[in-house]
Each structure stands twice: as C-alpha cells, then as structure tokens.
C-alpha cells in the first residue's frame, strides 16, 4: 500500500529552533518509513498565512497532521474540517485550545522560563537589576517565556528588579542593537535573559561589542554560537527545550493516531538547563542543535 | 473702447533672472494683440502672471475695468481668462475628450460621468474647428501637432472672454494654421480678445491688429500691425537689423554620398522611402502633418524598428539597431519633441549640452572633466545666445526657445557627419533662427550632410539645396532647391494622397 503522509504545519521555518523540530520529524519519518513535510510562516505574526498553509495541506488528504497553532481559535474551522475528514491532528510546541487534537507534544515554556529566572537569581545573588531581550511581543512562546521569567522574579525574588523588557524579533542584529541600548540605558545591570536563540546571541554580541564585563547572561535554546558562548563563559547558561524530541514525538504520535492507537493527553518532551559543566553530557548533547 | 485687460508696472523675479521689468500691456474687445519678443524676453511669464499661474512681484492688473488678483487657474477662468500654454500640458494616458473637459466633465448623480455626452460635446467642438480627431483616441499616441490642436480645442471650450495663445502654431502646419486663423477671426467677431504670441513673423501681418514688443523683460512699444513694416518690428525685438541672406545652392553633385537610404518600410508610416544625401548638402523634407518625416528620421536613427530597408553610410551598409549604433555610424538626430525626447529637463544646461558627447570629456577611468565641459557649455551659451543665469541652471527653468537652443547645442557639440534636424527652429525667435540657418550652412560648408525636416515651407525653401516631399509615409518627390521651386510645387507633391490610408487618431 502507498506510504503514509504526515505534514507538519509549524509556527516558523527558518529559525534554528524550528529547523531542529524539523530534523526530529525527519528522523521519525526515516525510522517509521512515513513521508513528512514541514512548513511554517516567515513570522509568528502571520496567523492567516498559517491557516492558508493548513488548508493547502488538507487538500492533499494527509493521513494525519501535526500542527503548532499560532492562534488556536483562528484554526478551529479547518481543524473541524480535518476531524470530519477523519484526519487525526497532533498539536505540537504549544497546545491547541480545542478537543480536536488527539494529543499535544510540547514543553512548558512558562516553567522553563521560570527555571531561567531561578538560575539568574542564583548567579546574581538574589538582588540587582536585570533585563529581558524577548523575541516576540505577541506570539505564544514569546509571551510564555517572558511572563514565566517576570512572574517568577516577581514572586520569588523581591530584591531583583527587571528594569527593561524589549523585543528583537529573534533577529540577531536587531537583538544586538536592543541589548546594547539596554546596556547603555542601565549602567550596572547585573543580568540579561534572552528568550530565544536570536535574542540570546544578540545579548552576547552586545556584550562583546561594548566589551561589558561581569554581566550574567541566561540564554534559551541552543545553536553553535550559543553553545560556544557558554563554553567560553560569556554566557552563564541556557534553557533548552527538546525541539528534536518535539518533532520526533509529533510524527510518532501522529502515526499511532493514524493507526488508531491510544495516546496520552500530553507528551511532555521536557526542558533542561545546561551550562559549561553539563553541556557535553549525553543527555544534554542529545537535545542541543547547532 | 473698453479694455478687457490692462496691466502695467508688472514685475517678476526668478532666481537669477529679472524676467519682467515694469511691463505694461492692454487688450481691447474683439482685437488680436500680438506679443512679440526674443526667446526669454518674458512673454510667457507675463501671460502666466495674467492667468494666475505666477504671482506677480509688482504692478497692477485690471480685468474689464476692475482691479483683479487672479490667484490661480480656477480664478483666472472665472475672470474669463483662458490660456493655451507654450508647453503642451496634457494628460497623455487619458483620451482626447477627457483632456478637453478635464475639470468640467458632464456629470450625473454622485459624480457619475456621462462619457457619451463628453465625447459628443468634444466632437462638436472639433466640428467647429474642422478638426478630424477621434475624441476617444489616447492623447499619448497622437502627434505633437494633434496634441497642440487639442490644447486649442480645450481653451476654446472654456468660452473665455480673453484667450491667450502662447505659440499655438509652433507645431502646426500651414493647413491647421489656416484653420486656427479662421477660428480666431470668428472669436474676434464674437468680441473675444486674443493675445497672440508667435515667432512666425508672417502670421503677425495676417491676423494681428496691434503688436506689443518686449525685449529682455522690458516693454518696448505697442504699434498698429497694419501700418508697421515687419522689419521695424523685428529690429524692435532684436535691437538690430536682421538681414536674411538669400540661399545660393552650391553644386554638391560631385561630392561623395554620405547617407544612402534604400526602400525603407514600416507599416503605413514608412512606405519604400529611398533617398541619398551628399557631403556638404542640405536636404530639406517638407510634408503635411503626419506625413511620416519624423518616422523616417527616427527609423534611420535607429530609434524605431524598420521592417525592411538598407542604410548606407559613406557607401558602407550599416545595420543600425539603436541610436547608439547610429551615432557610432556618425548620424545625429535632433527630435521635434524637445520636452520628451530632447532634454533631461531636470538637469542643468551644462549636463544637457554634453549629454551626447560625454566620452570626449572623460579620462580612461571614466572621470568627467567638469572644467572643459563648463567652457564648452559657456561657449555655446554665447554663440547661440541662450538666455540663462548660468550653465548650472536647470533646463526646465529656461524659456521654450532657449530650451530648443540647448538641444541644438548638444548636437552641434556631438559633431556628426550626418545631422538630421527635425523642426530645429520650433519656437525659436527670428534673430536666433537666422543664426541657426548660418550655422547649418557652415556645417554643410564643412562637408557635413544635413537633413532638415520642417513644417514651415519658407524655412525649407530658405535652407534646402534639394527638397524631399512626403505624403502619408511615401516620398512623393524630390525637388531642386532655390528660386526654381515654388510653394505650389511642394504642396502639390505633399497632397498626393492615395486612397484608403488614414492618419493617427483620425476618424
């Protein structure tokens, strides 16, 4: 019989994080002998473009769909259409607020960012001024990671003041300029948190270009530049999700859903904090990409 | 008699130019008042002040006995003043009718346009002008001549009490000029006052009642046209005597053939045209509007494609695919439409003059030698008497005639063996005209082959050693130059139509 086709509609495409998810999906595809395609809009703001992508994919009568909704509500009519056509939907990255998806492969961004806050606090000794370079003001991941960090700081570390939250669209150059501006505006800043790869690298660049010293940088995700920064000690450490795992689990789940097998409500692919000390451990190395 | 217009003490300044120095002018009911003067004398400026386009820097304007302050085109229209501008100002993408009635379209409810009424009213106006032109034709596809007629029709449609005509005949041929004069006489009879600007002296005698002469932005004098000899008017304009040396045709039959054109063809515009020009010869081309002279010239110059035909330069067959090839082959072409095809009006005089010859002003590294370019430009400015504050003045700020002189300077500088001049003296004052005639003859004298396309028969006859006549894309004959050939001979060839061919935009 002809091969099973499982398209994944993601939130993005070019960013390294999504490429890692893609690679995980491809691994699974190879392993289970299914055909996987991976697509995502240029920016996480383009909700309607993602809908168009989903529509186009459904035209190909896939056997199951992986979907990372930019906005759950907006997608619901199409998801219904999929359900009616008997196409199981697996949500990934962030959940789809609807009962249509058979399962959700995700990590808890809020908790992950909170961990980042804890680490930051630990490094700067529980008091001082810190700032956040976030990658997006409106996207789910952007909001969760920002708020996860801010809320944790607010409730657990009264002596730490978050002086500025600014956004660099995950674009390394923009994030660099943003970070430099923040450093200029806040002499004696103790630490900075970058909410995704681009933001984190931006901070690192800023520190290099302004040759700022003893600033604690906590990053997010991985990528060669970031892992290098950690090895060199420019960056204290970073949170990483398991993007490869997300991709892999999504495809795996989609396949079992297609086969009608039972699935858990949520497949938590987990997140980790890593730094120079554990960066080379197998468990961590497995979830890092570069 | 009641005066429609009375202006006096009019002052106008432009950067570097004092264009109007306390000028006076008046216009009576039902008269044609000619306004004469050299290029840059200030004629158009004065009229733009009267029609509210320029704000005057001094002086007073009375319209029908009342002090008036025309603050813009609309106000001027309301005061009953209509103007035909020297430079065509039409919307090329719109149809003829849409242009004529722009701003006054017949409308239904909610600004709905009544296109049928629009076209019909336009057709009616054209009918009164005996003008054969399809109201639905796109203006951009029409010839300058036709576009000029549209401007006239537009001005007429305002039914103004005062009608300003700034060189309306510059682009017209005798036939249309006759029509225009018919219209003017009719308007006179209706009591309309007409201000008429032209550089064609003969026209003054034909229609003007009074003549006011300006020089260098100053009022010179106002005289009765009937009792003042042209020579006097001319000397008032130029400030000196202009002697027209009669044409003596040199014998060039022995000279080498510079340009030999055989069996040129393109659609209905060019139909097997063959002719040749020898070194030192001036070949004139006469013909009615749309005869296709420009087409032939443009085709030879590689500006438009050819369907068939052979072009030999100095005996060698040349394949000319672009103006670039043409210039390389030593052929230059001065277009009849300076605004669109002649000038980069946003650039200064110096840049425009050198535009066709930049290679001669550059070193190996492609660096320009501004110094030399300046000297050359200044040279031509004085030689052709171009009125401009400096060689860095943007060309669009020059008067019409002075712009034309800049184009001529460009090609004189380029110095080709074969030069095609299409309407070279369009809008150029009598003094400068004779200068340019001398220049052309000098060029011929130096052994260059010159082709002159002109819609002014006197000009063709004044210059040409031989006269080619075209009609509807065919070369209907070549007449010898000099006293032997009369206007009648030329017109006879120019009207050898053959049935079943119609011109652009005609019904």
């Amino acid at each position: 019989q002809e091969e099973i086709y499982i398209p994944l509609i993601s939130k993005g495409f070019q960013h390294q994080f999504w490429q890692a998810v893609k690679s995980g999906a491809d691994q699974a595809a190879a392993e289970f002998g299914v055909r996987v395609t991976f697509e995502g809009p240029d920016s996480e703001t383009m909700v309607d473009r993602q809908i168009d992508m989903l529509a186009a994919t459904l035209a190909n009568k896939p056997d199951a769909v992986g979907f990372a909704a930019l906005d759950s509500q907006a997608a619901i009519p199409l998801l219904r259409k999929a359900a009616e056509a008997g196409i199981p939907v697996v949500a990934f990255d962030s959940g789809v607020e609807s009962d249509i998806p058979v399962t959700t492969a995700t990590t808890d961004n809020v908790a992950a960012a909170a961990l980042a806050a804890d680490k930051m606090a630990e490094f700067i000794g529980g008091k001082g001024k810190v700032a956040v370079v976030a990658h997006d003001q409106t996207s789910r991941t952007g909001i969760d990671r920002r708020d996860g960090f801010l809320n944790r700081m607010a409730e657990a570390y009264p002596d730490i003041e978050v002086v500025s939250v600014q956004y660099g669209q995950g674009d390394q150059l923009q994030s660099t300029e943003v970070a430099k501006a923040i450093l200029t505006a806040n002499p004696g800043l103790a630490g900075m948190f970058g909410t995704n790869e681009g933001s984190a690298i931006g901070i690192v660049n800023a520190v290099r270009e302004m040759s700022a010293t003893d600033l604690v940088i906590i990053g997010y995700d991985s990528g060669k530049a970031q892992t290098n920064a950690i090895r060199e000690g420019v960056m204290a450490g970073a949170i990483t999700q398991n993007p490869v795992g997300i991709g892999y689990e999504t495809v795996k789940a989609a396949l079992s859903a297609y086969r009608g097998e039972a699935l858990p409500e949520v497949i938590d692919t987990g997140f980790y904090y890593y730094d120079a000390s554990n960066i080379d451990e197998a468990k961590i190395a497995a979830v890092l990409y570069d | 008699m009641t005066l429609l217009v009375k202006m006096h003490g009019i002052e106008k300044w432009f950067p570097g130019v004092h264009s109007l120095k306390s000028v006076q002018f008046d216009l009576a009911v039902g008269e044609v008042h000619a306004l004469m003067g050299e290029n840059g004398a200030g004629k158009s400026t004065l009229m733009k002040v009267l029609s509210g386009i320029y704000k005057r820097d001094g002086g007073e304007v009375w319209i029908r006995g009342e002090l008036a302050e025309p603050a813009g085109p609309r106000e001027a229209q309301d005061l009953g003043i209509g103007i035909i501008h020297q430079e065509l100002s039409l919307m090329n993408d719109l149809t003829v009718a849409q242009n004529v009635f722009i701003g006054r379209e017949p409308r239904g409810l909610f600004g709905r346009l009544d296109e049928r009424a629009l076209n019909q009213q336009t057709a009616e106006i054209f009918a009164t002008m005996n003008l054969k032109l399809d109201p639905k034709a796109i203006v951009g596809t029409l010839t300058i001549a036709k576009q000029q007629m549209i401007e006239i029709a537009k001005a007429l449609s305002f039914r103004s009490r005062v009608l300003i005509m700034d060189e309306p005949t510059a682009a017209l041929n005798d036939a249309e000029i006759a029509e225009l004069f018919g219209i003017i006489r009719q308007l006179k009879a209706e009591g309309v006052g007409i201000i008429y600007i032209s550089h064609k002296m003969d026209e003054i005698k034909r229609i003007a009642d009074r003549v006011t002469v300006m020089r260098d932005g100053e009022y010179v004098d106002t005289v009765q046209a009937s009792e003042t000899p042209l020579s006097r008017i001319i000397s008032m304009m130029v400030g000196r005597e202009v002697r027209e040396s009669p044409l003596q045709v040199p014998d060039t039959s022995g000279n080498e053939v510079a340009l030999d054109v055989r069996q040129l063809n393109r659609g209905t515009e060019i139909r097997d045209v063959s002719f040749s020009v020898r070194k030192g010869e001036i070949l004139g081309f006469a013909g009615l509007m749309g005869a296709g002279r420009t087409e032939v010239a443009r085709a030879i110059f590689g500006a438009d494609p050819l369907e068939s035909g052979e072009i030999r330069v100095h005996g060698k067959v040349r394949s000319i695919k672009s103006p670039n090839d043409a210039v390389a082959a030593g052929i230059g072409y001065l277009s009849e439409d300076r605004k669109h095809f002649g000038l980069a009006t946003g650039m200064d005089v110096r840049a425009n003059i050198s535009l066709a010859s930049l290679d001669t002003f550059t070193n190996g590294a492609g660096v320009l030698d501004e110094k030399v370019m300046k000297d050359v430009a200044v040279g031509y400015i004085s030689q052709l008497g171009i009125r401009t504050p400096s060689d860095r003045q943007e060309v669009r700020f020059l008067s019409g005639g002075n712009q034309q002189k800049v184009v001529i300077a460009k090609w004189l500088l380029r110095d080709c063996d074969i030069l095609i001049f299409d309407e070279p003296t369009r809008g150029i004052d009598i003094g400068a005209k004779s200068e340019i005639y001398k220049l052309l003859e000098e060029l011929a004298g130096q052994g260059r082959a010159i082709i002159v396309i002109s819609s002014e028969l006197p000009e063709v006859m004044r210059l040409s050693h031989r006269i080619g006549v075209m009609c509807e894309g065919r070369l209907t004959g070549i007449l010898p130059g000099g006293a032997g050939t009369t206007q009648e001979d030329i017109m006879q060839l120019a009207t050898q139509r053959d049935a079943g061919v119609s011109l652009a935009g005609e019904k």
Binding site: D42, D48, D52, I76 | S89, R112, L113, I138
Partner: protein, 341 residues
C-alpha cells in the same frame, strides 16, 4: 479606456508606436495577457498534482486571495494617482482592532463594528492623503510613517493581545459563511470571496465611470496639467486616499472574521504583497494607468502560485525561489505578448 495601456518601464515617455498597435493595446488586451499567465499556472498545477483541481482547493485559493485582493485594490487606487500606499497592511490590522474594540470591548451590535472598521480606515486614509496632498510629503514617506504609527497603535489599543469575537455571533460569517452556497449548494463560495468581487466591481465602477476615478487617472498622468486646468487636485487626492483607506477597512473585517479575532501584530509585509499583485496586474507604478481586473488577476496569480507549490509539497525554501522566478517570467511573458501585439 486609457486606463488599460500598460507602461513598459516607469518614467519612460512612450516611444512612437503605430496608431494601430496602440489601439489593440487598449481595451481588454492587457488584462487578457495577465489572465493567460494565470490560466497557464492553473493548468500546469492540475497536470502535476491531481489534488490541485478540487472545488475545496479552488475555494481555498479564492479564500486566500480575498484579503490580499482587497488590499491590492486599495493600493491600486493610490498607485493610479502616481502615489504608493505602504500602510494597507497595518491599516487593515488597525481597523480589525477597532472593530474588536467596538464589538467585543464595548459589546455593540455587529453593524456598528462594521461601520467602525470602515470609518477608521477612511479616516486614516484621509490622514495619509492630507500628508501627501497638503503637506507635500512624498507618498512613500507619508504612508511608511502611517504604517508604523498604525502598527504601534494596534498593539497599544489591543494591549498586544488578540481580540476575539466570540461574543459577536455571526461575525465569522462575514468571510466564512456562504450566501452563494445557500442558493447553489454545489458552489459554496465563501462570503469573503463574494465581498472581494463586490469591492472590485465597485472600485472599477468608480475608476471608470465617476469623476473621482477620472481625476485619479488624471493626477497620475500629469498632476501639473490637472492643476493648470483649475481642478482642486489636493481635495481629490485626499478623497482617493480616504477611499483606499475605507477599502482597507473592509480588508480588516475580512481577516478579522476569518480568524474570528483581531491579531494586533499582523499586517507587516502585507503591503509588499498587495503592491506586487497590483504591478503583476499591469498597473504602472508611475501612475496614470491601471485596472482593478488586472489587480484581481495579479492577486490570484500569487495565491495560485503559493497554494499550488504547497499542494505539490515543494520544500519551502524552493517555494520562495520558484515564486520569485515565476513572478518575473509571468510579467516578462506580458512584455513579450505586448510587443507582438
């Protein structure tokens, strides 16, 4: 109608052409040309992929065209006057947000929301128009500024959170419902598409048959000449920009109802796509010429292209490459055919 003559390259005075060929170029010529490219694409895709030519997919394509199409129509109006409008995308978003404020925050009835969106659009358009006409700011700058201002305001007003229309029953039907489908069940064309075509019809009527349209072309063709004819050019220009703004308001309603929410961050980058559709449709950026039908086809070409490549599940990076190449080819094909004509 003059509107239809395409320019080869902006700011090049048309070199003499035989009156004949000019005539042919007028009328439906240009539209047919772009149309040809569209047909070729459709046939091509359906040959390669059996799944392409399904009613559902065709409708998906139309659905995908609707928003960009409406924005492109707005852009066409401005471009015909010789201007450009970079604010269509963020203005769309802003109007959607305003609809959200009226309907969800203030809980007013649906018609008021619709009115609010369109009025907001017209008002913002009027602003751009004023900047351009009265303050003589280049359209590019005026609308760029507007684009940024509106982008920011959308975020401010919405509190950077999407506004959902769940409390406004029937709002999503504006684009998702299908009046046609109720009459002809075999043809479930969504209302969004219907609205697109209605807007297009209205716009072409205005351009072709009303004074406003006439002056739009006249301004783009030779503004100075229009002024010299005693027309109040500034006023008419502002009117055009306002009209375009209002149309963007309709676009805002379409996208909002399609996503059943106003997404405040949306809209950046949409302006380029809209303008692209306009130019592919044969409208000249130098003004004075253009047709709504052409723009529609331009928008369809782009939608078909993206959808088709996805249905073929071409790798995304290659999709961009192919899209770029085909856009160039499609327009080149136009040039060639026009030359022949």
């Amino acid at each position: 109608m003059s509107a239809v003559i395409p320019t080869l390259a902006p700011s090049t005075p048309g070199k003499p052409k035989s009156p004949l060929s000019r005539l042919i170029e007028m009328g439906t010529h240009q539209r047919l040309l772009a149309f040809a490219s569209l047909i070729v694409l459709l046939i091509g895709f359906s040959l390669v992929s059996p799944n392409f030519m399904q009613t559902s997919n065709m409708i998906a394509i139309l659905q995908a065209t609707s928003v960009n199409g409406v924005l492109a129509i707005a852009a066409t109006l401005v471009i015909i006057t010789g201007g450009i409008d970079l604010s269509v995308g963020t203005l769309m978003t802003f109007t959607a947000v305003m609809a959200g404020v009226v309907l969800t925050y203030a809980g007013m009835p649906l018609p008021l929301g619709v009115a609010a969106a369109i009025a907001t659009g017209a008002l913002c358009g009027l602003c751009s128009g004023t900047f351009v006409a009265k303050m003589k700011i280049p359209p590019f700058i005026a609308t760029l500024g507007m684009m940024l201002i509106l982008k920011g305001l959308s975020l401010v007003i919405s509190g950077t959170r999407p506004i959902y229309f769940n409390d406004t029953p029937g709002f999503d039907l504006i684009s998702r419902g299908s009046l046609i489908g109720e009459i002809i069940p075999a043809l479930p064309i969504p209302n969004g598409v219907l609205i697109l075509f209605l807007v297009a019809a209205a716009a072409s009527y205005i351009l072709g048959r009303t004074v406003l349209g006439r002056y739009a072309f006249a301004l783009g063709s030779n503004e100075e000449a229009v002024r010299l004819s005693g027309v109040n050019t500034d006023g008419w220009k502002m009117a055009i920009y306002a009209l375009a703004g209002g149309i963007c308001g309709i676009g805002g309603l379409l996208i909002a109802s399609r996503l059943n929410s106003a997404q405040p961050a949306l809209g950046l980058g949409y302006e380029l796509e809209a303008i692209a559709a306009v130019v592919i449709g044969g409208t000249s950026l130098s003004g004075g010429r253009g047709t709504i039908l052409g723009t529609l086809i331009g928008a369809l070409i782009m939608a078909v292209l993206t959808n088709g490549l996805r249905v073929l599940s071409v790798a995304q990076e290659w999709q961009t490459v192919v899209t770029g190449a085909i856009i160039i080819l499609a327009v080149y094909a136009d040039m060639m055919r026009r030359k022949k004509a």
